[in-house]
Amino acid sequence: MSVSETYVRYRQTLSEEPLAIGVLLVALWMAWSLVNGLLTGGIQVSSLASLVWDGLLRGLIIGLAGIGLSMTYSILNFANFAHGDYLTSGAFAGMATSYLVAGIGENSVGALLLVGAGGSVFGGALGIGVTTAPIAVVFGALIAGVATIALALLIDRFVYRPIRDESGIALLITSIGVAFALRYLLQFVFGAGVRGTTAAGSVPRVSVPAIDGTFRVTAHDISLVVVAGGLMLGVHLLLQRTKLGKAMRAMSDNEDLARITGIPTEQVIRTTWIVGAGLTGVAGYMFILWKGTLGFNDGWLLLLLVFAAVILGGIGSIYGAIGGGIVIGLTASVSVIWIPSEFGRAAAFLVMIVILLFKPEGIFSGRTTA
């Protein structure tokens, strides 16, 4: 495409889309005020770096959780509003395991399994942390994944499978019912209180020098990066090197055709749930380990950001979910440079809405399950 053609095309877009001009102007203003702030010293490089680091980590969690959502969204063709509560379930299951491993013998098993409901045991006292209780954390992460897989398969068997052929909207509404039931069952069992789960004081940290200061990196940050990166790589290999990825792509394009071609669709769906829910559970656990508090609402509060990431990246695309997650995480964190900090999440939602308006197929457009 020649330069003039591109130019004409952009001019057309601009005249047809008054909103596009607005978005462009806002983007220009943001860039200018950032550069200006950095040059005049109104914004410190170190605080920017710290925001970026925080956003990156949040983005990894959102991306990891987003892979599962994206997979079920494209294969089963519905937006699973219960996904956030799968995340919370995984976090509770994993933390209960960690508490049990770290605190068995000194505390009552019941209190440990309930993750210290009502202040009976404190994560800080048990020394939950990746350096202080590594075995507990490894077991916790594993059980978080396994428990979420079991939960997702159970729910799929009794809730989604009987209405597999219904429209995406019917399934979406059903998933809202699942979300309600799951979230408030968790509250029923584990209580409504938000508890601290890690020994936040004893997590090792280093100060990374930036130009005019330092920003902090903790051991939990590093473990989050390692786990998220490893799992993403694993999923990539799984979907690229096995027939599963191809089967999933075939199914998300046309389920009937896939079945005719001999793809065992129910089995693919089950595998999708297993991979997706496993990642979701681990993401929930790593999220809680990283932020250090756990409440029954956590997953639900994260869900909209996960949706934003999945839509941003394009439904069905694994890389899209990861990339979208990082963009959304960065937006939610870094946007506080320009707007009041209460609106970080609102900014992430706005990015999602803008993407939906201009490029509803996502920035990594097209369905590419893998």
Binding site: L19, F78, A79, S108, G110, A111, L113, L114, A117, G118, S120, V159, P162, I163, E166, G168, I169, A170, L172, I173, T174, I176, G177, V178, A179, F180, A181, L182, R183, Y184, L185, Q187, F188, V189, F190, G191, A192, L304, F307, A308, I311, P340, E342, F343, R345, A346, F349, L350, M352, I353, L356, L357, P360
Partner: protein
């Protein structure tokens, strides 16, 4: 409308809906009165419980009707209802709260305009925000629209909570070209996390005063005080009266929406719901129709929010969590999307059984059996099973009924989607034609209206 028309209308209603609505309402009220008798309520207690029930039936019925315009008629998947409700009541508060002197109490003031102005502006602004959401979002797929609307309602809540919008200082004079305003307000704002105290005149009193019924009403209160309820019956009677007014409001919503549904406008909406491309191909500007329907529904949701919260003493942002949206959705799905009568019935059943019912059930059980204190957490509840004693668990379950209520709602929603996705009255066949199509003397065509409501002839 001539007298025969009206009679025909009434007869038609009786054949179908009124009996059903009255039966359901009668059953719910009877159960509540019986529960009140079991609790040993006097007249005051009974009236209180009835007023409370009526309030929730009213607001849920109203909001389900408004949602029915979006989802049932037009097929717009709006899960941002609570955002529009919040906008409605916050704008009403902002406009009608009395101004506070600068440097006075920390509470923010308002513009001190009459409540009627406040309500109208609340409804209008909710409608405008509906336009703001709908203009870009209506071209989206249903599930994307859902995510955008729920994100919108969360943005509204963040805005209510934010410190940035907590208070503003209004300048003493505002110069607008030829006019110079001198607003009475000094500081206005959304009040942040602490919310707003609704210190405008009581809406009920304002309404009655404007209708010159305030003095007679006070007389009635005096009469009741002398004869039936000895001390201070006013709050109870206020509640009952407000409930009755809400039911009248529901009636008006119903009339408006069923007229809308039967109008040519409403038929286009149904056509859009069934197949937007076909409606488009038939020369209807579907975007325009969807936009109008969305704005109208949003304004009605704003009004619903105002009627729900404006008679409370204060409003706080946590009241506007997405849960409320899903409550209204459950109500609509119980009743059946696409049917106005169904929407109201769904609202009533939801309010009476799922929303308020569990609490009454708990109180009933507690009245019937002398129960001890409930265990504080699930662990203690389960500990009873070690000694084969289920009582702690039962007590804990009863004690956490307000959370389990939401579990029940979720399960009911799943059950409905499995077994009766069309709800009680959804997808009822209705004639698309405005004249009677049945040929006199032809037995076959009578009583078989054309399938216009998406119902297929089977």
């Amino acid at each position: 409308m001539s007298a025969t028309d009206i009679r025909g209308l009434i007869q038609g209603l009786f054949e179908r809906d009124v009996t059903l609505v009255l039966a359901v309402l009668g059953t719910i009220y009877l159960l509540y009165v019986l529960a009140g008798v079991a609790f040993g309520y006097g007249l005051r207690g009974q009236l209180n419980s009835i007023a409370n029930l009526t309030f929730y039936i009213g607001v849920f019925g109203m909001l389900a009707l408004a949602l029915n315009l979006h989802w049932g008629y037009t097929g717009l998947f709006n899960i941002g209802i609570v955002g529009f409700m919040g906008i409605g009541v916050y704008v009403t508060a902002l406009v009608s709260k009395p101004p506070v002197a600068q440097g006075g109490a920390a509470q923010v003031g308002g513009f001190g305009l009459p409540l009627s102005v406040g309500i109208v502006s609340g409804v209008v602004v909710a409608g405008l925000f509906g336009l703001l959401v709908a203009l870009p979002a209506l071209r989206l797929r249903a599930d994307y629209l859902a995510i955008v609307t729920v994100a919108f309602s969360e943005i509204v809540r963040f805005t209510m909570m934010s410190r940035t919008f907590q208070t503003f200082t209004v300048p003493d004079t505002v110069d607008l070209w030829l006019f110079t305003f001198d607003p009475a307000a000094d500081t206005v704002g959304l009040g942040g996390g602490g919310g707003l105290i609704l210190n405008y005149p009581d809406p009920l009193e304002a309404l009655l005063r404007s209708l010159f019924l305030w003095e007679p009403y006070l007389g009635l209160i005096g009469f009741v005080e002398r004869n039936y309820i000895p001390n201070n019956p006013k709050p109870v009677l206020d509640g009952v009266l407000y409930g009755v007014l809400l039911l009248i409001g529901v009636g008006l919503f119903y009339l408006l929406l069923s007229r809308t549904g039967k109008s040519p406008f409403g038929r286009v909406l149904k056509a859009i719901r069934e197949d937007e491309d076909v409606a488009n191909a038939l020369g209807k500007d579907t975007d325009r129709f969807k936009l109008t329907a969305f704005v109208l529904g949003s304004a009605l949701m704003g009004l619903g929010g105002i009627l729900w919260y404006s008679s409370r003493g204060s409003i706080t942002p946590p009241s506007f969590r997405p849960n409320i949206t899903f409550f209204i959705w459950i109500a609509l799905i119980i009743g059946g999307a696409g049917s106005n009568t169904g929407s109201f019935l769904g609202g009533a059943i939801f309010a009476g059984v799922l929303y308020e019912g569990p609490r009454y059930f708990k109180n009933l059980v507690q009245t019937a059996f002398e129960l001890g204190d409930a265990p504080r957490n699930f662990g203690e509840a389960m500990a009873g099973f070690a000694s084969l004693d289920p009582m702690p668990f039962v007590l804990y379950t009863l004690d956490s009924i307000s959370q389990l209520r939401l579990v029940i709602m979720g399960v009911v929603l799943i059950w409905l989607m499995h077994n009766r996705p069309e709800g009680l009255l959804g997808h009822r066949k209705e004639t698309a034609s405005s004249v009677d199509l049945a040929r006199p003397g032809s037995a076959e065509s009578t009583g078989k209206p054309a399938a216009a409501d998406g119902g297929e002839e089977r």
